[in-house]
């Protein structure tokens, strides 16, 4: 089974040279740590920054310079700053090549639920609904099963939806899966020491298993 860092490491391999990428909060944020130096990417932060740099050195924190997770960050040579309307304009216009975000549930037709649990305090969707409705390529980083051992890859989401028919790829602690255009999960890779059978039992949505399922390579 993969750690959160390893999920991030595996997703980093999906990032191609020249991509503009939006990273969500949680595991997606960790992806930035595993992008190889020779792969040139520009990270978009939806509060209005292209070219997000690493955290500042202690003492260099600037309260006027934060990311969408409200963390202090830095700019890089070539960074640009813009307002919130333009930020979501470039997202809506599909200028951002890849969006990586977390999810509570994903369904076999690509629906995603990640903003609201009935009966619990609702904090809001932030920019998630805008991102999933418009992004041309979305990878979800998530846990395959919840703490009770129940699958989060489902025939249909049970939680209120964030977006419909929008997810293309899911990376979990167990597997890498595509969501097929006609619906259903396609098992692409399994985590080291995780059997295909284990993944089948952990997946409630329709799952297609090819004859050979390779083990994930993380580097």
């Amino acid at each position: 089974m993969l750690t959160k860092e390893q999920i991030a490491q595996r997703i980093a391999k999906e990032i191609q040279d020249g991509y503009y990428v939006n990273l969500g909060i949680g595991i997606p944020t960790l992806v930035a740590n595993y992008i190889p130096e020779e792969v040139h990417v520009v990270l978009q932060s939806e509060n209005g920054l292209l070219g997000m740099g690493p955290f500042p050195f202690e003492g260099d924190e600037d309260p006027d310079l934060i990311n969408a997770g409200k963390q202090t960050i830095t700019t890089l040579p070539g960074s640009s700053i813009f307002d919130s309307a333009m930020s979501f304009g470039m997202i809506r216009a599909q200028k951002v090549d890849l969006t990586i975000l977390g999810a509570m549930e994903v369904s076999e037709n690509g629906d995603i639920a990640n903003w609201k649990i009935p009966g619990k305090m609702v904090k809001g969707m932030g920019g998630a609904m805008d991102l999933v409705a418009s992004a041309k390529n979305i990878i979800v980083a998530m846990q395959h099963v919840n703490k009770a051992g129940e699958s989060k890859l489902l025939p249909e989401c049970t939680l209120p939806l964030t977006g419909v028919r929008c997810i293309r790829k899911v990376v979990t602690e167990l597997a890498v899966l595509d969501i097929l255009p006609e619906g259903g999960f396609l098992l692409l890779e399994r985590a080291p020491d995780v059997s295909v059978d284990y993944i089948r039992q952990a997946t409630r949505g329709r799952l297609t298993i090819p004859g050979h399922v390779p083990t994930m390579a993380l580097t």
Partner: protein
Amino acid sequence: MINKVVPSAVAAVSDISDGSTLMLGGFGLCGIPENCINALVHKNVKNLTCISNNAGVDDFGIGLMLHKKQVRKMIASYVGENAEFERQLLSGELEVELIPQGTLATRCMAAGYGMPAIFTPAGIGTEVADGKEIRNFNGKDYLMELAFEADFAIVKAWKGDTAGNLVFRATSRNFNPVMAMAGKITIAEVEELVEPGQLDPDHIHTPGIYVHRIFQGSAYEKRIEQRTVRQKTSS
């Protein structure tokens, strides 16, 4: 040049009355109009509808107005990090409308551009779409969302001149320029107020035509929500 300068935050918000709809700039605690919020808390104006991406924290930003029960309705995209907010929401004292962040920004933009509505795919197939008109363009569904109407927009800029031209700094820009365009009355507080001619016209983010009142704020706290750093020894 038309002079937009008012002497203080207290003067700037003097005619904001109970029941007003306010836009407040900022993302989290970054780029919020600290001086005007303090003046509104002091004035104790009630029954407000506040349009802002977030609702502050318990003891700072809009949280200060929530603490005094001045807000009747909050329109925002994300309202975590605020225990008093949660209490008022659960007790029914506070009404909340959560809307996608891009929709929030673009509904402000539409108001500033004189457009009554926008079409966005955000929220299609979700509860956000309930009761709203859906139009299909080129095979894709879009929600019709209306431009905001706000009595006052209250924004924070880095620099401004007496004619109301504004320049923002780093990511404290966020919602401020689009809200500045969207208020029936727009109030700008700035860290540094300068004379006309001292800002390069090519570098103005918000033209003064959108700004009705401007003043130089003071004692900015600029609180950081998530102080994240790296060690000098690491690469």
